[in-house]
Symmetry: C2
Subunit: 149 residues, 2 copies
């Protein structure tokens, strides 16, 4: 039952992003996905800064940031045309193991939706734990599919 619900949530979450991706040039796709990652990364970082007390921790603000992270986490995946590694951290492994890449996308979407749901409640310890779980999903994908240089 739990797996069924998760699958339904995932299907619904991913379906909000229209499937007809149209990028005139490969560079436009790279620009789009880097843009989505940049904005997501900033708002994810803001949650971290609130948890560390560098900026005020308010349920409203953390929840707004987590909602943005969850929205943005669904976007970049339409923008990985085959072999688009130029001016990018994308590793060729993305197109060698598309199943694994897709599995990690779905994991991120599920985890960021969970973080957004938890953030609404405003419990700092619970948010911290969900934040850590989300950071692990980022790292898991970066370790395999993102070059450091």
């Amino acid at each position: 039952m739990k797996r069924y619900v998760l699958a339904a949530v995932l299907a619904s979450a991913i379906s909000v992003v229209p499937a007809h991706a149209q990028f005139a040039k490969v560079e436009d796709a790279v620009d789009y996905r880097q843009g989505a990652f940049s904005v997501m990364s900033y708002h994810f970082g803001q949650i971290n800064r609130a948890l560390k007390g560098e900026i005020p921790f308010t349920a409203e603000s953390v929840s707004a940031n987590a909602n943005l992270v969850a929205t943005l986490a669904k976007l970049p995946w339409i923008a990985f045309p085959a072999g688009s590694t130029a001016n990018s951290h994308a590793k060729p492994e993305i197109w060698k193991d598309p199943e694994k890449f897709k599995q990690l996308q779905e994991k991120l979407v599920a985890q960021t939706d969970k973080l957004a749901t938890i953030a609404k409640e405003g419990d700092q310890a619970v948010i911290k734990s969900a934040f850590g779980d989300t950071a692990k999903v980022c790292k898991e994908c970066h370790d395999t599919f993102r070059s450091k240089h």
Copy 2:
């Protein structure tokens, strides 16, 4: 009354973006705002392509794109630290006339929220008109505050 409602909607829309912007470097701010504009521009373009019949027009897909445009339209404005024109289309006029710049931000936020509301209804002619009105707001700001080179 109408003006009061509009002001309340605007205040509520803009307040979802946490006010504590923290960018370690000016380049990070430029990267963030350019990212937000890139992603917004892509989804705005997808509405145009659906209206022109280049991709299927479905209320669900146009509405998803319009929701993303409305979400993203609220973001870039925290990322204009004074004088940050390097590697950017931003013109110095942004910091010479901050009131006008802010007024156009609010106009865009109001108009993209309107487009998102209209898109839900799925009436192609009404969406086309709201799309055109939104494009005019983009242009109005670009003409004054964005360099072409």
